[in-house]
């Protein structure tokens, strides 16, 4: 069980390397993605753009579930999961928002346009950044509660955002799966491999970040315990070592 993390880390790395090769076609082995006819090699950004987007959605969904669980159960584990998925989700969302314009510039000739998909992604990003800002800025013991409430608010907002920009002129491609668009099966294959690799990667980061979070909480607990009890289990003086009291009281 202790080995699980390093083993998973190695596997994920290998998978990422393989997926990278398949996407960018560096070494020609069977199954690499073909070059797109009209867009050329720029299109290969697709294999990062789309898996990042899907991973983002996944992470934010987990965040919502964890937040709701925290609100009901007040389980610190759920809160830790929410912190972690919130942070990693914002990172992946940022990847989408960066790769999108990089792709858009050569293909559409502009960096940005106010289209449904783009705008809703931006709004999602904004909501979760404000979530992280709240977590950072609030130092009361009730931060998890406030943050969880905000996550629920954000989740309520997303469908409304989608609804409200629903009939903007759209420039962005339709969904690959279930959206009626057709795609070369080789491309689809590579896309799915990349998605798997990205999901594993995201899970890996979340896992290590989660361990860090647990550690942080344990340290805080330990320090509190230390401030509770002096050397031989006797109550320490009010100030502890960090906070000397006025002389008269010692």
């Amino acid at each position: 069980m202790k080995r699980a993390f390093p083993i998973f880390a190695v596997l994920t790395t290998l998978l990422l390397v393989y997926a990278l090769n398949q996407a960018l076609s560096i070494v020609h082995i069977p199954g690499v993605a073909p070059t797109e006819r009209t867009m050329g090699d720029v299109q290969r950004i697709f294999y990062y753009h789309v898996p990042s987007a899907w991973t983002t959605f996944l992470l934010f969904s987990v965040n919502l579930v964890a937040s709701v669980v925290y609100l009901i159960r007040r389980n610190p584990v759920a809160d830790a999961v929410a912190v972690v998925t919130g942070e990693v989700g914002v990172v992946f969302c940022t990847v989408v928002l960066v790769t999108g314009p990089i792709w858009a510039r050569p293909v559409w000739g502009i960096w940005w346009t106010w289209d449904v998909r783009l705008t809703s992604t931006l709004v999602l990003w904004l909501i979760y950044v404000s979530y992280l800002v709240l977590r950072r800025f609030s130092d009361s013991a009730q931060t998890p509660v406030l943050a969880a409430a905000l996550a629920v608010f954000g989740a309520l907002d997303v469908p409304l955002v989608y609804f409200s920009i629903w009939f903007f002129r759209t420039q962005h491609p339709q969904p690959v799966i279930g959206g009626g668009g057709s795609i070369d099966p080789r491309m689809l294959h590579v896309l799915l491999i990349n998605w798997l690799a990205f999901s594993c990667f995201a899970f890996l980061i979340c896992w290590s970040r989660y361990r860090l979070e647990r550690l942080r909480r344990e340290v805080e607990e330990a320090q509190a315990l230390e401030s509770l009890l002096g050397p031989e289990g006797v109550p320490a003086p009010a100030a502890g070592s960090k906070m000397p009291l006025p002389r008269g009281q010692q």
Partner: protein, 225 residues
């Protein structure tokens, strides 16, 4: 339920009385919202025909900013002398306080809007080409949308450092659909080019969803330390 409303009204009455007594919030708000209107009207030719397309946005941005400044002051009075603690130790329901504050802000922001709108109309020589009566529900729904979440997030930002800046940070992202709804509905009616129906439904949905959510969560926020 009965006590909810009776306490909410008592709180609202108290706030209005105090506001009236000092009038300072009103003065400063008036100052800045007038300034916004004037800046806008100097910034672009109000007589141009295309002004009709932009004025919906202008009005709502002005309202939004006025609202944020007002909302930031919502809880200031309760924090002085920690009166909020007196509320928290009382059996009064948390939601009564929320309703009172939200209604108070609604009245306050509506008053500002009532002052600013004629200015816009005068400066921009507005004639409404669509069904003008629909502007009223739009303003009411839009203002409530701003105010209900604003009150909630203002309470939330009490529990944080650098309070004043936190409010817009929390409020703006969540308000985007509402802002879109208000601006587009207003523009549709001013230009008469499209129906505002869709946007009205959107605003109504937004209001219902978030009023429920705020009432559901306010207790948590109030009793957070």
């Amino acid at each position: 339920m009965n006590s909810l409303w009776s306490i909410a009204l008592a709180t609202l009455a108290k706030d209005i009385r105090l506001e009236w007594r000092s009038k300072d919030a009103l003065n400063s708000m008036l100052f800045f919202s007038l300034l916004v209107v004037v800046i806008f009207s100097f910034s672009f030719d109000p007589l141009a025909e295309e002004s009709r397309h932009i004025v919906g946005g202008l009005i709502w941005v002005a309202f939004l900013f006025a609202a944020v400044v007002a909302l930031n002051q919502t809880w200031a009075r309760e924090l002085r002398n920690q009166v909020l603690d007196a509320y928290r130790v009382s059996p009064a329901p948390a939601n009564a306080l929320f309703l009172a504050k939200a209604l108070g802000n609604f009245i306050f922001v509506s008053a500002l809007e009532a002052l600013m709108t004629p200015l816009f109309v005068i400066f921009y020589n507005l004639r409404v080409l669509g069904p003008a009566w629909q502007l009223l529900p739009i303003v009411i729904l839009g203002t409530w949308a701003l105010v209900v979440n604003g009150t909630f997030f203002a309470a939330m930002s009490l529990r944080t450092r650098s309070r004043e800046i936190m409010l817009p940070l929390l409020l703006f992202p969540i308000s985007i659909p509402a802002v879109l709804g208000m601006v587009n509905a207003t523009t549709s009616i001013l230009t008469g080019e499209a129906s505002a129906h869709f946007w009205l439904v959107l605003l109504l949905t937004y209001d219902v969803v978030f009023t429920t959510a705020c009432l559901g969560f306010f207790g948590l926020v109030l009793h957070a330390e």
